[in-house]
Amino acid sequence: MAKKINITINGVVYEANSGETILEAARNAGINIPTLCYHKDLCVAGNCRVCIVEIAGQSRLAASCATPCHENMEVYTNTLKVRTARKHIIELLLSEHNADCTRCYKNGNCELQNLAAEYKIMSEDLIPLAAYKNYSIDMFSPSIIKDDSRCIRCQRCVRTCSELQGVNALTVAYKGDQMKISTFFEKSMNEIVCTNCGQCVIHCPTGALIEKNYIEEVWEAIADPDKHVVVQTAPAVRIGLGEELGLQPGTRVTGKMVAALKSLGFDSVLDTDFTADLTIMEEGSELLNRLKKVLVDKDDNFKLPMFTSCSPGWIKYIEHMYPDMLQHLSSCKSPQQMFGALAKTYYAKARKLDPEKIVSVSVMPCTAKKFEANRPEMHDSGFRDVDLVITTRELAIMIKQAGIDFPKLNELKYDRIMGVSTGASVIFGATGGVMEAALRTAYELVTGREIPFENLDITPVRGMKGVREASVIIDNPLAEWKFLDGVEIKCAVAHGLINAKKVVEAVKNKDAEYHFIEIMACPGGCLGGGGQPIPTNSEIRDKRAQAIYEEDANLPIRKSHENTEIIKIYNEFLEKPLGERSHHLLHTFYVERKRH
């Protein structure tokens, strides 16, 4: 327990924990101090100076986010001196900022705009500086747009890229009036070691870093009578979307989301969960195959541990940073890309559609998925497998544009085929979910019995610890898997690329022995993805995770191999996991990328 101290804020004595900052103590006491560079996920920077407060006995104002409380400290958050200074600072930021708000993608969801509105900055006294700088907008990345003219240099993106992701794609360049957030040799975002994870986007307070949106392209496809537009929704979208549409974090909106998508005019509303289950079948089989090749056949061409491959940010990361480890990656495509390949083959055939006329749209909690869909090898259906990728936020914008009263919608069910979900696929949205789903299925395939965890909840792989480990001992397997008898299958789960790095290094240095490792690029997994509602922070991630596990618990089928549509597709189309059709449509390869 932290020591309790007394602190006086605006004349009232409050109890605070020793070691807390003034900002934390004030917010706990219900007193709001505005901030810009502060973010709960990140270390304290103290550079925007918006959160300044007056401390009795000090002539200078203190940044409350960076100043620890002391016993009997007397703090004032709203004196004339504080207000004047804060107003000046907001004015200064606005003078440097391209404050053309009506033409900004973040109009209405911008922390600087909110502050300007709160402090009623009406004067145009200061010289607009943005006009004097040669800003250009970096639009080369398929995922992220970087507009320096809207940057307030709070360095939240820099800290995100370094502290949460360990990628350091964004960094501070130059000093003084030239200081800006830039990349390696000021290259554009598509030419650098950027994983497109979009964590910088959800941590940016303004419109300086935004996703590349494909809203108009989707509207055009819907409006085209010749096109059959299918949409797939990722597991984490259904527990995040509500936040953008006036509902509390952690609200499950699956049925309403389906209703909204139908109302928007999509011809068929399908579920990425279906291909998540398919991923489990393929990836689980691949793992068992690798175990056999390595443990029994001693085949050097197969490597353990096997890493999951669902997270495109993680894929690009390993391609850049550890190209020598690519053989450890599962060859399975991500659920989005499996869906794309099947939409224009299996689905087209079943629905008697010309695949050329199908537009395949996906709604993802992710910006890296935009890059993934754009990869040149993702054309196994004979066409571009996934045509357009929009984020949870973009879908919310479309729903608002269509004038839909989202909270009042009646819940609807997904269309068929490729619309059946299981608890196993829903938890793909949370860190540890792929692992849990894979273990539920693989254990049963090998032993013929359910995995021995209460209610199938494999709790060791759940939670928000950066790296988690679990192991399962295979006991009395079926005849085919006799070589696994008594083998302890060791697993690890990591989320956030900074944690991924730890695990990869441990594997590389042989400090840890695992068989199967799940890695998600974003903190919390997809539920905290770069395409999710803003704000996203640890509290909100916890609520979304809770919603995901509720959804799992409430679904009638909770194991991928029991998904009726999965059984059907193997019977009618794919024949068996790792079969020839699977190999062609559902598996992929990786490329080595440069580090600079």
Partner: protein
């Protein structure tokens, strides 16, 4: 005979004494606490410009518990118009090295660093030779200590102690949030004494001659002597060791060219004093007894009537605009606004009253900037604009 001025010259720093080995071995035998008390009683304050009591700094560091402690000599002499540290390191490096070793002895540090300004690269060779000789002697008397030179890369902001440490650790030279202060968490987050070159040289004098000798010089609150870097419109530019507490009119009488219009005390981050205020201005740290007291890192720039104060200010602001690290809003944007603002007034694009808006802005910079750089831009700005308003407008 010329009139006797109130300027008291002194000669401690550059006196060639060549007795450092004796002073070092003698001091290292003394009790640490006594040495700290000696230093505290001298009332020596930091000579870099900020004026923090040196004895207290060493005491706080010695009381911090940590597996590792450091002593850093700040030789990133970047304040415009200051050039005294260079001379100290060229002429009497052993005094500084001895002081660093004594500081290490007192505080429990094992490693010392000299953060040498990038532009002083030419000093590195000779200084390294001196260090080698010094460390050889330390080994001889069985005192474990190392001193390394760390070359700066030319950023003014790296003279700020925490930015300096960030730079030494391999990061961008950006000042840290304070607290924590370096005495508790400095270089590598370990307790660190960081002193200006001249401060260290003064401690040598104190440990050699005793605190009383030092204390008896200067005036109340501003004890001892100080090196002044005199430049500008003066017939005798150079470095002078003077007792603190002198009045600015005496200084101008001695160093001026007879036409001194104003003196910039303390470099670009200091204050400009116009002629009418020379007599009421004293050079020293803030105290209760003296009139206006202006501290300085030693830079004294004299301007005569041929100088445009607008140009002087324009020059300072351009300097700050470039040399701000750029991380905090008031400093990064504030400097740009001030610089462009005075130009807009001069060119008639903004009314004269805009100067008042800018003055208020500098007040905010002073209260809210993260480090001394942004906080002190207000000094030169307000003192020039308020005293030479006409020159700013027409």
């Amino acid at each position: 005979m010329t009139r006797e001025y109130n300027l008291k010259r002194a000669d401690f720093i550059f006196r060639n004494e060549n007795d450092w080995e004796h002073i070092l071995s003698r001091t290292l035998k003394k009790d640490r606490r006594e040495l700290i008390n000696e230093l505290i009683s001298s009332e020596l304050k930091g000579r870099g410009g900020a004026g923090f009591p040196t004895g207290l700094k060493w005491k706080l560091t010695s009381e911090s518990e940590a597996p590792q402690k450091y002593v850093i000599c700040n030789a990133d002499e970047g304040e415009p118009g200051t050039f005294k540290d260079r001379e100290i390191l060229m002429k009497v490096p052993f005094k500084v090295l001895t002081a660093m070793a004594i500081c290490a002895y007192i505080t429990g540090a094992n490693n010392g660093f000299i953060y040498l300004r990038g532009e002083y690269k030419f000093l590195q060779h000779d200084l390294q030779k001196a260090i080698d000789e010094f460390i050889y002697y330390c080994n001889d008397i069985n005192f474990k200590f190392s001193i390394d030179i760390f070359m700066g890369s030319g950023a003014y902001i790296c003279g700020e102690e925490t930015a300096l440490m960030e730079s030494m650790e391999g990061f961008r030279g950006e000042p840290r949030n304070k607290p924590p202060f370096p005495t508790g968490q400095g270089y590598n987050r370990m307790p660190t004494v960081i002193n200006n070159v001249e401060t260290l040289a003064h401690t040598y004098t104190i440990f050699k001659h005793g605190a009383k000798k030092f204390y008896d010089l200067g005036v109340q609150f501003s004890r001892g002597t100080k090196l002044f870097s005199v430049s500008g419109d003066t017939p005798k530019p150079g470095i002078y060791e003077l007792e603190l507490g002198m009045s600015l009119s005496d200084f101008v009488n001695d160093f001026g060219d007879g036409d001194t219009k104003a003196v910039q005390v303390g470099g670009a981050s200091g204050f400009l004093v116009p002629r009418k205020k020379f007599s009421e201005t004293n050079i020293g740290y803030k105290g209760k007894l003296t009139g206006i007291s202006l501290p300085t890192g030693g830079s004294m720039m004299l301007f005569n009537s041929t100088r445009s104060m607008y140009n002087v200010l324009d020059n300072y602001l351009e300097f700050f605009r470039e040399e701000s690290c750029g991380q905090c809003t008031p400093c990064r944007v504030g400097c740009q606004q001030l610089h462009m603002g005075i130009k807009a007034v001069k060119q008639g694009q903004k009314p004269a009253s805009y100067l008042e808006k800018l003055l208020k802005l500098t007040e905010t910079m002073q209260y809210t900037a993260k480090c001394g750089l942004g906080q002190s831009v207000a000094n030169s700005f307000s003192s020039i604009v308020e005293n030479f308003r006409e020159e700013m407008i027409y």
